[in-house]
């Protein structure tokens, strides 16, 4: 559908933004291949959303699958379950190295794994971002909620789905807060790493994934 015929603020802006992408990126028309850590959790929802946002999605269950990827998404799920797998066969070290050089995006459990510090309880993580994350900080499932939050992106407030969500309880000086729910950062970025405590993969709004695909494209251009 042509852009001009679309109504609504967000949609129009997005189309314009994505049509400018090839100029920004040096590798024109290269479709980035983005892995989704598929140990456990809502990895399929992420894979679908990445494909809709112009990337090729690959499910990753073993460390050697990381090699050809341009970026990685760590989905929602149970971070303690994912850690059990990452602690085998040098997966955690390999993934930590990967997120140092290539773009990464974590939602919920993924945000916990990308953080430098984890509370409630303390657990191992990849340390890709200078943030402290507190697990299950809102309470139990009954405290899960959906609401609209303003972000730094164009296109108005964004619907955010919080499910047994963690909270970002501390951010380092180099961390860019992309969205705050009240006083609490819920979407942050530091260099090549991005984390959200909500689940953009469960909303119809594609802006967060499009932003990540754009990050991956930019890095591809840089390399």
């Amino acid at each position: 559908m042509p852009t001009c015929c679309r109504s609504g603020d967000g949609e129009g802006q997005l189309s314009v933004a994505s049509s400018q992408l090839p100029e920004k990126s040096k590798t024109v028309a290269a479709i980035p291949t983005i892995g989704v850590l598929a140990i456990q959790g809502d990895y399929e929802a992420h894979a679908r959303r990445l494909e809709e946002s112009g990337a090729k999605a690959v499910l990753v269950r073993k460390p050697e699958q990381l090699d050809p990827l341009d970026g990685i998404v760590i989905p929602g799920g149970e971070s303690s379950t994912m850690l059990k797998f990452l602690e085998r066969d040098g997966f955690l070290e390999k993934l930590a190295e990967f997120v140092r050089v290539k773009p990464s995006f974590g939602t919920c459990a993924g945000a916990i794994l990308l953080a430098k510090n984890v509370e409630n309880p303390a657990q191992k993580s990849l340390g890709a971002m200078d943030i402290t994350v507190r697990r299950n900080a809102y309470g139990r499932q009954i405290d899960s909620h959906i609401h609209e939050v303003a972000t730094k992106l164009a296109g108005g407030p964004m619907e955010m789905v919080f499910i047994r969500a963690p909270k970002i309880s501390g951010t380092g000086a180099d961390v860019d807060v992309l969205a705050k729910d009240g006083d609490e950062p819920v979407w942050v970025r530091q260099g090549k790493a991005m984390a959200a405590t909500f689940h953009p993969e469960l909303s119809a709004d594609k802006r967060v994934h499009e932003e990540f695909v754009r990050m991956v494209r930019e890095t591809q251009g840089d390399l």
């Binding site: 990895y43 303690s80 379950t81 309470g139 499932q141 899960s144």
Partner: protein
């Protein structure tokens, strides 16, 4: 397409939150536990969630009697022990037990045929709750009736507490087959199909269009080994529930029982904690790597024995838990 913020409607948001937690459990294993110690073992082994109950189905079978919701004090202890989601079971139709569990703050309620039913006609009106529900099903009609009542996750019933996977397979194949048949039907055939499945037409039509259930579809009932878990995943289950298969042992190997020093009670039928943890870990790994025979081989080597189990084919009709539910 794609209406941004298309659902300001409270009931649709509520269902999205309920199925959202089920999304987070996909690819994982939900383990039955009866005390905080078992819950700890399950979490350490990589369970995505635990199901807190008084007795695992194999014990319910062995001991008989009326089976009810677990004591909230025990469930609370389990909730205090682990950081992963905690589910608990209420009896079919027992909405007061469900109210208690919701007030307690469990993350999911299983309206389960494993417990003694409290209503022979009606299931709980699950829309009336904020906490999500999972329900068992043997075929598509049953699954859609539960979804119509508000279930946010479906699991195959299988035959719980047997360690025999045959009916989990039967029910998963039946549901998948029923769905596939709908997808090739003409619009006008769907009305008759809805009647045949005794399910709401709107849901039947939705399945005919998408070829899948509108909520996550998990498997339960007799899964006892890593290969069982992989089998169910390959047949289409998005995650698995393992009940008695992890913590139950083989009573025939208990020396004291052989010497007549034990009566058939709970303790001696349990697997050693190390054995249970190794099984749990292997089943978790097999569930993730369900399509990788090399990993399945490794995980199968990691377990020492499985629960002794009961062959479903030899069970009298009255002992079949799966017949409960309407």
């Amino acid at each position: 397409m794609s209406e941004k913020n298309g659902s300001n409607n409270a009931s649709s948001n509520s269902l999205r939150l309920k199925t959202g937690l089920a999304e987070m459990l996909k690819g994982g294993v939900i383990m039955d536990v009866t005390d905080p110690k078992q819950a700890e073992i399950a979490e350490r082994a990589g369970a995505a969630a635990v199901m807190a109950l008084e007795r695992v189905p194999a014990q319910i079978r062995a001991e008989g009697g009326v089976s009810r919701m677990a004591n909230p004090r025990m469930i609370q202890k389990i909730m205090d022990t682990v950081n992963i989601p905690v589910m608990a079971k209420c009896r079919i139709g027992h909405f007061a037990e469900a109210q208690v569990l919701e007030a307690l703050g469990v993350d999911y309620i299983d309206e389960s045929e494993v417990l003694t039913p409290a209503d022979e006609l009606h299931h709980v009106d699950k829309h009336a709750f904020k906490v999500p529900f999972v329900c068992g099903a043997r075929d598509l009609g049953e699954a859609l009736r539960r979804i119509a009542e508000g279930a946010a996750m479906i699991r195959t019933k299988g035959e719980a507490g047997t360690g025999d996977v045959v009916h989990a397979v039967k029910h998963m194949r039946q549901i998948v087959k029923d769905m596939r048949q709908l997808t090739v039907m003409g619009e006008e055939e769907l009305y008759a199909a809805a009647k045949e499945h005794r399910a709401p037409y709107e849901l039947v039509r939705m399945v005919a269009k998408t070829g899948k259930l509108p909520v996550p579809n998990f498997s339960a009932g007799g899964i006892a080994t890593p290969a069982d878990a992989a089998l169910m995943r390959q047949l289409g289950a998005e995650a698995v529930f393992v009940g008695s298969g992890i913590f139950m042992g083989d009573k025939s190997r208990c020396e004291e029982c052989a010497n007549g020093e034990h009566r058939y009670d709970r303790g001696c039928a349990l697997a050693q904690p190390e054995v249970a943890e190794a099984r749990a870990r292997a089943i978790v790994r097999a569930t993730t790597h369900f399509d990788d025979p090399k990993v399945l081989l490794e995980t199968s080597k990691e377990v020492t024995g499985a629960m002794k189990g009961l062959a479903v084919a030899g069970l009298p009709d009255a002992d079949m838990l799966q017949k409960r539910g309407w």
